[in-house]
Amino acid sequence: MADGTAQRKVTRVEVDGDIAILTFDRPEKRNAMNDQLVAELDAFFSAPPKGVNAVILRGEGGHFCSGLDLAEHEHRAPIDGVYHSRNWHRVSDLIEFGGLPVVSVLTGAVIGGGLEIAASTHVRIAEPDVRFQLPEGRRGIFVGGGATVRVGRLIGADRMREMMLTGRSYGAEEGMSLGLAHYSVGSGEGLELARNLHARSLTTRLFQTTS
């Protein structure tokens, strides 16, 4: 910070055995993605803690992530927007291709950039209150975090276009049938399923380093 005071972090990491749980911690903003959140994700996935073999992403306060922090976005010049979007792509590539399996527990708002982040995770677990939405068309902006590529490949360009045009949302069951989520569980059960999936997963063992 310019005035030298320490900035409160917007993510929280707990390491439990060989799993790291990264919680988005801006509940007052429904975990909207600001530059700091992107930077903290970048730092984590660029250098995950030693001994971690899987990551669980979740949101504090009942919402996973309500998307781009629009207040921060509003005064960004277009060229800065390009750099911002490209940086976001780089960070979501770190999540998807960084080498660790990433499970997301999807509750409440999974909107815009939040859906983009979720789409870069490998396993998506939806709870009943989840709402998948791409309302950018109604706000006068376009997706910039990779949704066209990732979400488009999940549900098809046609459905993605419809989501953006109408701003409609999908819930847990429909989301699962479309591929937005892999699992649909009861309220509060997502984290436990995430842990169980990791415990049962042979793949992480196969690629585990022994150092």
């Binding site: 509003e74 960004r76 390009v82 979007s85 006068g140 902006i141 376009f142 066209t148 590529v149 360009a157």
Partner: protein
Amino acid sequence: MMHAIPRIQDMPRSEGLFTESLAAAMSQTSDGAKEGLRAFLEKRPPKFR
């Protein structure tokens, strides 16, 4: 900008991502886009001409 979506689908991944960034930046520049965003932040309905 809606036209970009199916075109991006047909591009290789990294090309699609680059195009998306350009489309996103372009979309912000219209008066309608700015009004839509401002209205959202002010929690009021947008006033499009």
